[in-house]
């Protein structure tokens, strides 16, 4: 498939940004669906980067394949726990590595396995995500667009001080130790302004 001369030319045109939009969308969809074509696409980028003497980091195709195989191999249980479903929201945004790390479901079997086991991930694929995602929340990889990186919140001494003092006090609580400092040290994201509403009514809404 990827040996077709016309297809190579199309890939090359795609890399140069010279393919018509409709053709580009069609080709990107094929790259998503055909591993051989994806490998060709990657080789093309590698060759171009080498020519330009760029230092690039390519994804480990073997690792990605193994994760993908693991995802496919997972049977889709009828009663997917809320944890497994919801774990993916943040993990997709974090990329495949974070997905493999966090979207884990605890193993209930304890039989030792001889081969190294990749982190288990919930059985979803990009088509599934595209169907479930609210508009603007998640996008298919084939869209070739990324959400903008969260902007760091502007430094505010008073606000930082409240969080820091809370962390310092909560370190002696049962879920203490280093845990209360984690959100203090992590890069704060600039949150969209939260409207000042009557907090009493917000609190009432939270009651069951």
């Amino acid at each position: 498939m990827s040996n077709e001369p016309s297809l190579r030319e199309q890939l090359s045109a795609l890399a140069d940004g010279e393919l018509a939009p409709d053709q580009a969308r069609f080709l990107l969809r094929r790259i998503d669906a055909e591993p051989a074509l994806a490998a060709e696409w990657q080789r093309l980028h590698l060759a171009r980067a080498c020519l330009r003497r760029e230092r690039i980091a390519l994804p480990d195709v073997g690792f990605a394949d193994a994760v993908a195989a693991r995802i496919r191999a997972e049977a889709a249980p009828a009663a997917l726990g809320g944890w497994r479903r919801t774990a993916l929201g943040g993990a997709i945004a974090a990329g495949m590595a974070a997905l493999a790390l966090f979207a884990v479901a605890p193993r209930t079997d304890v039989a030792p396995t001889a081969a190294p086991v990749l982190a288990e991930v919930a059985p979803l694929d990009t088509r599934d995500l595209a169907l479930r995602a609210a508009p603007g929340e998640l996008q298919r990889a084939s869209d070739r667009t990324w959400s903008p990186l969260p902007v760091a919140a502007p430094f505010d001494l008073r606000v930082e001080s409240y969080f820091l003092r809370h962390g310092g006090a909560a370190t002696a609580a049962p879920r203490g130790g280093f845990v209360p400092y984690v959100n203090v040290v992590a890069t704060p994201a600039a949150a969209p302004p939260i409207p000042l509403r009557d907090p009493q009514s917000q609190g009432e809404a939270a009651r069951r």
Partner: protein
Amino acid sequence: MTAGALRRAGALLALLASAACLAQEPQPAELLERMSRSLQSLEYEGVFVYVHEGRVDAVQVTRTQSPYGPVDRLVTLSGDRREVVRERGELRCLTPGGTVTASAGERFALLAPDPAAVGRLQESYRFTIAGRDRIAGYDATVIDATPVDALRYAYRLWLERASGMLLASMLREPGGGPVEQLAFTSLRLRESGLVPLDEAAAPAPAAPIGWQVADLPPGFRLIARPAAPEGSQHLLFSDGLASVSVYIEPRGGGLLGAARRGATHAYGRALDDAHVVVVGDLPAATVARIAASVRRDG
């Protein structure tokens, strides 16, 4: 012995072995007490990944014990360099925008967890063992803590099987998605050799003077009154998993409205000549509700 008898004996042995394993499986309350003790008394060094608000941060953490209390150091390995250091009762947060310092309060000695505090958890959460897993090379028992109301987060905790050390955690909005996830990718644990003080023997913190927090979620109790500048009060409440700070300060320059760091929310409001700020590991609506309930005595 015949082949059939051997098979039956083997099956019986397997049954006995699995029963023994189940009998040895610690209960959630015991595991949580171990977690609390480990987080306080162990020495550890590792790297964890923290997912929050659409960001992924890698953070290096070191905790050592000294005769003056624990020494904590957390440094981000991704994004801007940020660092939190806690030593000899002083807290420093170093960021590209500036450095914030604060007193870590009087409770900086090594404290053993109060078993009663862990026991009280049952008032606010239902605990189940979700299974077993492996994080950063350690075998983990996975515990789900499901809140009894919609006022706090649900927790999934990965606890190291032998020590109870927290290896990973996920906090989830009531009926919603994850708000914060943390998992070690590498970790080294050491016994510190220091004997913790008995926290249960410490005197209960005095009630706030002139103020009351009228509407705390059930299960929350005042557990500390950390040091605060003159004319201010800092009250720390906890339900055993979540903690919330209430700051009551003279009016002027404090937080107005909402702010957020991961799963921790803050809400500030002016109240007569005072300023009330609530910071807690709780959903935004709960934090706002607590802030709204702070009022003067009488």
